[in-house]
Symmetry: C2
């Protein structure tokens, strides 16, 4: 058997789901814990989440939101107040029924102190936050309420997959209350635009923006907007959602106010969220057969410096040169932030260290050894090029160039992902072509199919149901941008606009 | 009845516990939710927590730690692995027993899908993190592991009190693993020193540092270090702890490694944490009868600008002057960070707005009205002085002075708290004086007592037990700084050092 030529085995083409797990393991992002469906997010993975949090938090604050914190537990009766909502979440709730442990007859500990009313570990917080808003809102002067929460939530997933679908995950959930339907609608659109910009500018991810069909709507919402990304097996990932909840939750929770007209009215509420699922999306969208590839703007470290210290007598000088370069880089900015640098001084074999950082997806690697010291140069490599492709720079010139190299890489990754999506998106006008598009060309690779189909749809949920049953394909969104009305290829009826269909995570 | 002369009723002296609740309500920091013992942290309270998080997070990273995230749920069997640990937490655990909801015979939802093994909502994470470290550590080269987690934890408190004792609270928990006992010990001391510095420099809180007696130790620890603050009813608050866990949790979880001597050995672990309890401590330590008083370094806003706009024709000019002053202030730094400014442009009555910000504890208030505009002045007030004591400055001069005013306020608050603690700490050498010190002088004010007693103790837990039963007083710490050995006033036996006794939260 020949030695593998890629760091990740299997490759994307050989076995995409297994490749995904291996990329995560090789980058040391996360692992499964002993608690079914709950993951441990390791420091490199959490560093990515911290970058996402800081960036989004700034964007939320710029759009007028403040953070707050609401209880982890929701009384069962609260969840029941909104019928569609409880229907949507009842099947996957962690339920707390006791509040202490006691030794049983056999001496083993067992739950004791049964609660009068069971508590549900929040799968999302509309109901518990709605109860607070009902206390806070009396007059139109108390509106709008613009609050976000960073929290953990639990949905008991039967088929968990690291980052994409876990029983516990981390997320942010914005919850706002407004005086008018128009304001709530605007808020929903504003926050979707924030998500779209974040995905594009920071994650280098082109995303579709649009509205969900009724069958894919958030339980209890009037309207669910979403961003949808295509990943490298041509499937879609719903990467963020923004819900116009109308007055549904306000009525359920009693968020009432005295209006300008002196009449009592229910508020209009919204909620919007993104989660650690973004990390899974990022991994599936950009990584290659050597591991993780990180867009510079979201990378916990943008440059890693690897000292090459073969001999003891030059070791100190090499390490000092590394410190100097790090300080020089850290004094510079890329995209409005200080450049983030790490020096890997660990006493390990150089090749192993290099491959570790390749697999972790750091954008730029720099080697400095005794010969570089003598010549005043540094040997550099970019994560978006082949591992062996290296460029030597004068040390001073390199520091100056780093911001533009990072900018170029950020743009490259975006363009590559955009080209991939465009190559695998097809405008389809017949049922036959649609079915062929989603039927695997190779029977041994059932997961490979066409990608995104951009097709007219009359609006009938029965069509969605049939296609889901036949092909496991769903409508990902009714995009905001489209080419007008036409004819539904499935029913022959008029269609208001083309919609995007895809297999999805 | 005369009109109240303070914004908070009752005053501290009239009813301290009720005053505390009222200060929190008036500052809009937090409120109780419908879920017993779980609080809602409102934006101003959460803003305080964010400032604490950011500051501590920076200090943790400067001392070599990284963040990660571990599961919310702990299998019951994990908790049982360390006997003292489970004993310490079994009485206050939220227990998840089911993973979905189903309609019962009466149509009402009830827990369904019983779990094979119940899950405990983490009261602290030693056991679940220990299981991960056992996977990660093979060789001494894998050590140390220096990780922190920001998380929510649940301890089912029977008598909850906002911030100080809640069923769910937010905290950080550091968890480290080391090769040697000495390194673990050093880590424990290093992090306690971080907490002491944070309390002193940011919260303006002088704290005692020392070790807990065995009876007050963390369940499962070899040694618990702590910082203890005195608040204005002379009670102690344990504001942070750092535990040397020895090999106890390593043995329970199997954190083993191959040492430099090629022998297998168990790691030495530590854990250390502070929580939203710090907010309660801050409130009780610095606030006055007009509400919250915030040390400038931790205040979400350090300066609030209040536009005075009696007439429509000068309104725009006044608002513009406010914006200019805010920009001017925000371009300056205090204690290494940009000055944090808010402008309160809400259309409300001026007096009401002023009192709102007094009650929220913002260090400096600035009023700008048409007359100030004409004279180029601003009218300012400091939260540490009487509400009516105002100083007029030339606008340019004021902006220059703000950093030094804030520095002076920060120092004043610290000195005031220190003087208070010193005034209410007594070196005591007889049993009689000790009992008198903790016996309320006024029968109608059972909560008022001496404060901290600095007294010799022979080390016998029976003494602690008796004093706790008699006076509800416990040893807060065996302080690092003391005046050497002496005689225990309770037993007449030799005492290695004086210890601090107090009533506590």
């Amino acid at each position: 058997m020949p030695a593998p030529t890629t760091a990740i085995q299997p490759t994307r083409h050989e076995d995409f789901p297994e490749w995904y797990q291996q990329v995560i393991a090789a980058a040391d992002l996360a692992e499964n814990s002993e608690v079914r469906g709950c993951m441990v997010i390791k420091p490199w993975g959490f560093g990515l989440w911290e970058r996402m949090q800081q960036t989004l938090d700034r964007m939320f604050k710029q759009t007028g939101h403040e953070n707050a914190y609401f209880p982890l537990f929701i009384p069962l009766s609260y969840l029941e107040k909104e019928a569609a909502h409880v229907e949507g979440f009842a099947k996957e709730c962690a339920v707390v029924t006791h509040h202490r442990l006691e030794a049983g007859p056999d001496g083993k500990l067992m739950p004791a102190g049964e609660l009068t009313e069971p508590l549900v570990v929040r799968p999302t917080s509309e109901t518990i936050i709605g109860a607070a808003y009902a206390r806070w809102v009396q007059s139109y002067r108390d509106l709008p309420i613009l609050i976000n929460q960073w929290a953990n939530v639990v949905r008991w997933e039967m088929r968990p997959r690291l980052f994409l679908r876990t029983a516990e995950f981390l997320w942010q959930e914005g919850h706002t209350a407004h005086e008018t339907a128009a304001e709530a609608r605007e808020e929903t659109e504003r926050m979707l635009a924030v998500y779209e910009r974040f995905a594009r500018e920071f994650l280098a991810l082109p995303v579709l923006t649009g509205e969900k069909s009724e069958s894919e709507r958030f339980p209890g919402a009037d309207r669910t907007l979403c961003i949808e990304a295509m990943v490298q097996d041509r499937k879609a990932v719903q990467a963020g959602t923004s819900h116009d909840l109308g007055q549904n939750f306000a009525k359920a929770a009693g968020i009432k106010f005295l209006g300008r007209d002196n009449q009592e009215a229910f508020a209009y509420t919204t909620s919007w969220g993104v989660s650690t699922r973004l990390i899974g999306t990022l991994v599936m969208a950009h990584s290659d057969d050597d591991g993780l590839v990180l867009p510079p703007r979201i990378a916990p470290a943008q440059v890693v410096i690897l000292p090459v210290t073969p001999k003891e007598d030059t070791r100190t000088a090499v390490l000092e040169a590394c410190d100097r370069l790090a300080a020089e880089l850290e004094s510079r900015e890329f995209a409005g932030e200080r450049i983030r640098v790490r020096i890997d001084k660990r006493d390990r074999q150089g090749g192993a260290k290099t491959w570790e950082w390749i697999k972790k997806g750091v954008p730029i690697r720099v080697e400095i050894g005794p010969r570089d010291l003598a010549s005043g140069t540094v040997l550099t490599a970019r994560r978006d090029l082949a591992p062996k492709e290296k460029t030597s720079y004068a040390a001073t010139e390199f520091a100056e160039k780093v911001p533009s190299i990072l900018a170029e890489m950020q743009e490259n990754l975006y363009q590559r992902a955009l080209a991939f999506r465009e190559a695998h998106t097809r405008k389809i006008d017949t049922r036959e072509e649609f079915y062929a598009f989603f039927t695997p060309a190779r029977p041994d690779k059932p997961e490979i199919h066409g990608g995104f189909a951009w097709t007219h749809w009359c609006g009938d949920p029965a069509v969605e149901e049939q296609i889901k049953a036949d092909l496991k394909v769903t409508i990902r969104c009714l995009p905001f941008e489209h080419d007008g009305p036409g004819t539904c290829p499935f029913t022959g009826k008029p269609s208001p606009q083309r919609v995007f269909w895809a297999k999805s995570y």
